[in-house]
């Protein structure tokens, strides 16, 4: 069965520091990959998505992610974190239909001033 792992439950970085959130997936074929962000008390907002083509994708709020087929990974990066980036980040995969939309457990990001 398909699965998504996010090895880091909680990450703390200083404002202005770089960030990388890890996502690994187990899937029978090349999946469609997504990163969502959830601020406290809010719904999920799509940061970026990968379907095919260029393996480095750009998203909103200065985020980017790189798909590495050989490592089954889709890590999220940001060169300089802002205090407003503190939130929960979810990686998700799917292939065909919405019912197979599988989310990882999430990584909580804290930002120190």
């Amino acid at each position: 069965a398909q699965s998504v792992t996010q090895p880091d439950i909680h990450i703390t970085v200083s404002e202005g520091a770089s960030l990388e959130l890890r996502c690994n997936y187990s899937y029978g074929a090349t999946p469609y990959l997504f990163w969502y962000v959830q601020s406290p008390g809010q719904g999920l907002q799509l940061l970026l998505k990968y379907f095919s083509g260029d393996t480095l994708v750009q998203g909103i709020k200065g985020f980017e992610a790189e798909f590495k087929r050989s490592q089954s990974s889709f890590n999220l990066r940001k060169p300089s974190v802002h205090w407003s980036d503190a939130a929960e980040y979810f990686c998700a995969v799917t292939r065909n239909y919405g019912q197979n939309f599988v989310f990882g457990p999430g990584t909580r990001l804290s930002v120190l001033p």
């Binding site: 999920l44 799509l46 998505k49 292939r95 239909y97 919405g98 197979n100 989310f103």
Partner: protein, 115 residues
């Protein structure tokens, strides 16, 4: 509407009571999804609708859970005889079509607390 709207935002109920959670998707979106987010857990898929039909109900945790959608728009998730383990945030999402290339847009969720 401009976004996915869920009501109520918070619901406190007593064990054994029935609850109804409502989701109003983005206008024109044909697909609608329900997820459950328990404390410290990721998102658990419950059910999705394409139009008014639910091709996949396999995520519903028990027969106490049911959902319906009428008019291809509003959906209601009903939990009968609530248990404490039902306490969670219930998220609804909608997309233009039920294919993975159609992005799911999420509501803010309903936080359910079963005492």
């Amino acid at each position: 509407g401009a976004g996915v709207s869920q009501s109520p935002s918070n619901k406190v109920t007593e064990k054994g009571k029935d609850v109804e959670l409502r989701c109003d998707p983005i206008s024109g979106h044909t697909a609608l999804y329900w997820y459950r987010q328990s404390l410290g857990q990721g998102l658990e898929f419950l059910i999705y609708f394409q139009g008014n039909s639910a091709p996949d109900k396999s995520g519903l945790p028990s027969d106490r859970f049911s959902a319906e959608r009428t008019g291809g728009s509003v959906s209601t998730l009903t939990i009968q005889r609530t248990q404490q383990e039902d306490s969670a945030v219930y998220l609804c999402a909608s997309s233009l079509l039920a294919t993975s290339k159609n992005i799911q847009y999420f509501g803010a969720g309903t936080r359910l607390s079963v005492l």
